[in-house]
């Protein structure tokens, strides 16, 4: 891959298309086999203890329900600050935009980030002005991270320029807030699409690329994360900027989380093994990690009543 200035690539539909379609293809079977093999790494004792705490520190503890209330969000924030058993706090609390004030209040002084989903999450089907207003409102309310969704319809119909411009516009609306760009890989279906969308998002200025909304199945998988991590790695190699990665949805066990960390370790390398560069979008994952932590500390299997609900 040659180094082409970002602006030149994004200059026109045609140049974007040429660039994205010039990326090396991804063989689905080979990518899955690689991910599966990384999944056979055996992480024990000191390595496991390290991985469990790192996992907690990387969690964007999430609630994205129609039934969310300030009470629910505040309880989640309390859990994120003090997961229990002297575990470290999580990286961020991820909520809908209207819940940001509740989160901001509950997290004051904690250093935990407030992530808001925006841009007509999860479908992304709204006029551009609505998406930008959504973003600005969340930032104004105190969100310092915005999780946007790309326009999958535009992407799948080949209107890459439209997707690109929208990300640029949302990034601008974010101001100082970090922008995570959700590709919704479950709707992009092919790994070739995932690789192209990853590059498109990074070229347009994403601080993070994220697999899924959690509302579409499949959400995060190891193979799709592999393809996106490869894109992050190659993008830094050719463009000099490091972009973070966030698999979200479907990661529920400590065992799975550790497989992701192994993948980060061996695909992008340890530069990404930090909450600044890798996050898990998850809710139930935290408690499973806490149970595993207890098991390691006590030497016997832990019971769910010894960790808090939220």
């Amino acid at each position: 891959m040659s180094v082409t200035p970002v602006l030149d690539i994004g200059q026109s539909e045609a140049s974007l298309r040429r660039f994205l379609h010039g990326l090396p293809g991804v063989d689905e079977v080979g990518a899955k086999a690689r991910a599966a093999r990384l999944g056979t790494r055996s992480i024990k004792t000191s390595a496991k203890a390290y991985a469990l705490d790192l996992t907690i520190r990387m969690i964007d503890l999430t609630t994205l329900e129609g039934a969310d209330t300030p009470g629910k969000v505040k309880a989640l924030c309390a859990k994120g600050r003090h997961p229990g058993d002297d575990a470290p706090p999580v990286a961020a609390i991820c909520v809908y935009g209207d819940m940001v004030p509740s989160a901001a209040e509950a997290l004051a002084g904690s250093g935990i980030h407030i992530a808001a989903v925006a841009t007509a999450f999860p479908s992304g089907r709204a006029p551009r002005e609505v998406k930008l207003a959504d973003t600005k409102a969340a930032v104004a309310a105190g969100a310092d991270e915005i999780d946007m969704v790309i326009d999958r319809g535009a992407f799948l119909s080949g209107r890459y320029g439209q997707v690109f411009e929208e990300i640029v516009a949302v990034k601008e609306a974010c101001g100082d807030a970090h922008l995570k760009v959700i590709l919704e890989t479950g709707e992009l279906v092919t790994f070739d699409n995932v690789r192209r969308a990853s590059w498109l998002a990074m070229l347009a200025g994403a601080d993070f690329i994220k697999t899924s909304t959690g509302k579409v199945s499949p959400a995060a998988t190891l193979p799709v994360t592999l393809v996106m991590l490869e894109a992050c790695r190659d993008f830094r190699d050719t463009h000099g900027r490091q972009v973070g990665m966030k698999p979200a949805g479907g990661i529920r066990t400590a065992k799975d989380a550790i497989k992701y960390l192994v993948m980060v370790n061996e695909i992008t390398g340890p530069d990404w093994l930090d909450p600044d560069w890798f996050r898990f979008g998850a809710s139930s994952l935290l408690n499973d990690v806490l149970l595993q932590r207890r098991k390691m500390a006590t030497g016997h299997y832990a019971g769910s009543d010894h960790v808090t609900l939220d």
């Binding site: 293809g25 990518a31 086999a33 790494r41 055996s42 390595a47 390290y50 790192l54 340890p270």
Partner: protein, 473 residues
């Protein structure tokens, strides 16, 4: 702080190693004419003493096989034979962990491979051929009568898998066997003998004679066998082909290789890099079909090699029983010496040598994964089978040049093609003179898939319906 994987050793307790092992003849373990030691190549510790079969022992084994063929196994209906093989397949699945650990101990290969590749394939091979036993008349091979007694000599790189490749089709077709495992890796074959006992396989149907080259020669030359099946080096293959010339013994040979793994500029690069790594570092490169010559299109050579070097730096070399080990020990000191000599020749002839930083254990036989660039067809490391974790990189400009270079070898076992262009894959696959062509993948094996070489990589096929042909008339 970095993410250091703590040691994750597989327990040795699942294997009850004996101090000494006998020959397996006529359903029983017996003494041989001498003994030899087998060592763990990862630490040079002696694992056990093993009986060495002399000519008289081979003779006993052949007579036992003959009697079993004539009185029990030959006349037995195929469906009954098949059920024995199904039993064996199941026992192998049940005892897979035990076999995996033993194989890693005796061979030096990583437990991840014995556990995830060797053992599943071994059981699958018996399962596959079990099903053929009562269907031979449907196989399109005429009367498909058994040949009689098969003398089988196998190598040390996949001890149990090669045993399965030899024994399963031979037994399914009604032959009985005398099998000689390699002298550095006899233990899994002797544990397999126990499986035969557990399966209540009639005595004499499978006989295992351990020993070195002399034992193999005695077996191949024995007038009482009807068939010789050999997997190993091309030089020994030649010797065997000469030895059976003029006899009525049937012969199949699966010999060496110097496969080209060809990467085009439109390849799926990340998967191609995996295929290159898997092609040459799988099983420490002790693989006859290893992709030991990387032919990369000049226009993407730098990019591919950079990615390859980065990937090689993540290979974990060390304790074969650690579940996170990717590359284990070299099987023997003799093999290590051979690899070292050829690698030295590569440097002397002007190729550029590179290996990732890598700490090797103090004891045992080790060779760090190695890459040679600037290699040309004339270099020894581009022509001779190294049978170790050493990759020779050459470049090409056009598909025709790639084919020419790939085929420019007396070998013809396997080849790899990496390109996303369908018509080019098919064109290349047609032109490459190799028995197995992997396109956008490498080192895949399956009991249903015929395996074997062109030219001096041998003749005959193992696996699939084609694999039956070697054992019937």
């Amino acid at each position: 702080m970095t993410f250091e994987y703590a040691p994750a050793p597989e327990s040795r307790n699942v294997v009850a190693l004996k101090n000494s092992y006998g020959l397996f003849i006529n359903g029983e373990f017996t003494d041989g004419s001498g003994v030899f030691k087998t060592v763990n190549p990862a630490d040079e510790e002696v694992l056990a003493e093993v009986a060495e079969a002399g000519a008289a022992d081979v003779d006993r084994a052949v007579s036992a096989a003959r009697t079993a063929f004539e009185q029990v196994w030959g006349p037995m209906p195929g469906r009954e034979r098949g059920k024995y093989l199904f039993r064996i397949a199941r026992i192998l699945q049940e005892r897979a962990r035990e076999f995996a650990v033993l194989e890693s101990l005796d061979n030096g290969k990583p437990i991840r491979e014995t556990r995830d590749i060797d053992l599943p394939l071994v059981a699958a091979h018996f399962f596959y051929y079990a099903g053929w036993a009562d269907k031979l008349s449907y196989a399109g091979l005429g009367a498909a009568r058994p040949l009689g007694v098969a003398g089988q000599v196998i190598p040390w790189n996949f001890p149990l898998l090669m045993l399965a490749w030899k024994i399963a089709p031979a037994l399914a077709t009604g032959n009985t066997v005398v099998l000689k495992p390699a002298e550095t890796t006899p233990l899994s074959a002797l544990l397999f003998a126990e499986v035969c006992q557990q399966a209540e396989l009639p005595p004499g149907v499978v006989n295992i004679v351990t020993g070195a080259g002399e034992t193999g020669r005695a077996l191949v030359a024995h007038p009482g066998i009807d068939k010789v099946a050999f997997t190993g080096s091309t030089d020994v293959g030649r010797e065997i082909a000469k030895a059976v010339a003029g006899s009525s013994k049937r012969l199949t040979l699966e010999l060496g290789g110097k496969a080209a793994n060809i990467v085009f500029d439109d390849a799926p690069v990340d998967q191609a890099v995996e295929g290159i790594v898997d092609g040459i570092f799988f099983n420490q490169g002790h693989v006859c079909c290893a992709g030991s010559r990387l032919l990369v299109q000049e226009s993407v050579a730098d990019e591919v090699l950079a990615a390859l070097r980065r990937r090689m730096a993540t290979l974990r070399v060390g304790d074969p029983l650690d579940k996170n080990t990717d590359v284990g020990a070299i099987n023997s000191s003799a093999q290590l010496t051979k690899i070292q000599e050829l690698a030295a020749a590569g440097e002397e002839e002007g190729a550029e040598r590179w290996s990732p930083p890598c700490e090797l254990p103090d004891r045992g036989y080790w060779f760090v994964p190695t890459l040679f660039t600037g290699v040309s067809q004339a270099h020894r490391i581009a022509r001779e089978e190294i049978f170790g974790p050493v990759l020779s990189v050459l470049t090409f400009r056009t598909p025709a040049e790639a084919v020419e270079k790939a085929n420019n070898t007396p070998y013809g076992l396997s080849a790899g093609i990496w390109t996303e262009k369908g018509s080019r894959i098919l064109w290349m696959a047609e032109k490459l003179r190799a028995g197995v062509v992997w396109a956008n993948t490498f080192n895949q094996f399956d009991p249903a898939s015929p395996f074997g070489g062109y030219k001096e990589s041998g003749y005959g096929r193992e696996g699939g319906r084609h694999g039956l042909e070697a054992y019937v008339r």
